[in-house]
């Protein structure tokens, strides 16, 4: 099952412990995570459900390409990292 971690900096605002979540795409995985932790959703995704402008998501060390629909595939044992961009500080 994909493993999901969040930037340490988000923890000051909303608790986002590392977790495991089913899903074949970034959208499916994050939907599962946010279903269990609804407050975290708006910290990562904007009003349209896209990745916030100054947030980045990596799958197995590669930055995802589809920041709007989040269709990038996630392997069954994939590592999903939700990080801050250096912009937006």
């Amino acid at each position: 099952m994909p493993h999901v971690t969040f930037t340490q900096n988000i923890q000051r605002h909303v608790s986002c412990p590392e977790t495991e979540a089913e899903g074949r795409t970034v959208r499916e995985v994050l939907d599962r995570v946010f279903a269990a932790n609804p407050r975290a959703r708006d910290y990562v995704l904007d009003d349209q459900g896209a990745v916030r402008r100054h947030m980045v998501v990596f799958v197995d060390g590669r930055q995802i390409r589809d920041r709007t629909q989040l269709t990038d595939p996630v392997p069954a044992d994939g590592e999903v990292c939700v990080m801050q961009a250096l912009s937006g500080g």
Binding site: H13, Q48, R52
Partner: protein, 373 residues
Amino acid sequence: MSDRLFVATRKGLFTIERGKARRAGRWAVTRTHFLADNASIVLPDRRNGSVYVALGHGHFGVKLHRSANGGRSWEPCAAPTYPPKPEGVDDREPNSGRPIPWNTELVWALEPGHRSEPGTLWCGTLPGGLFRSRDRGASWQLIESLWNHPKRREWVGGGAELPGLHSVCVDPRDARRVAVAVSCGGAWLTRDGGASWEIRAQGMRAAYMPPERQYDPNVQDPHHMVQCPAAPDVLWVQHHNGVFRSTDGAASWREITTVKPAAFGFAVAVPPEDPDTAWFVPGVSDEQRIPAKGNVVVARTRNGGKSFQVLTKGLPQRHAYDLTYRHALDVDETGKRLAFGTTTGSLWVSENQGDSWETVSEHLPPVYCVRFA
């Protein structure tokens, strides 16, 4: 008379209180919250003592927090969010051609609803949407009648790259009558609680437009609009290139050309009981956003704009470059106490309608919003 002030800054929210006993009459910071976070606006709701603050996290978006105990402790509440953007809608900022994000980029206005609607709040945002909450910020609804108005698509960014709705005036006589102002999109009025809107900027002048467009209501850049509660047909606007006043409920506006030392600025305040009095904090001009001659001054009229006094007592009169943003000047409910804060972190209070000022701090973060509890 209010002994408490809330100050929203680039680096947190500050509570300022008037001292008692030995420190009587001295104002000082008594509490800090959300230190290092960007607090764009604060609303002490005088109807029930609740306080709301909007935070704009660079990475994590806009969030709203609420206090039920006068700002001592806080809990998150809902932030306004835009509905899904329909497929195929081409919504762009006209000047840049960039797509308008259907996303709350900044909370730029936060006002209590009418006293007959104790749970109601109004919220203005960048990129221009107006929201209403009926449940003290537990949920928000976009006012779609204004957002979907064809003329909304013509709004442009002013100082920001996106249009923004920064002023909301709820008529004390009628909860359904609400006026709002937009940079840059003029002033708008609903008389049916937000079901329909009409533009109300007739008489405003935009010096930054070609001659044939200068009086176009929808291109006006009101920096801030306030309404006199005791005489709600009187509204004042500090505009990008002047000061305007309406005495007919925003049906028409008259330019006030007597402001000293200049007609440029962002902030305007009007006391609750006197529609002829107003305060402004002028800068030189839109191209020189600093106080004239390095002197921080407040301009006050007591006769509806026929003449102005320049108030300086207690304010720095040498090499001071403070700029006061649109929500950073406030008057309390008695009309006697005033406070304003600046981009360089100064904060002053007056207890005599601006005749003299006390320095509260010269070292706060850049101040966005000052409000008496």
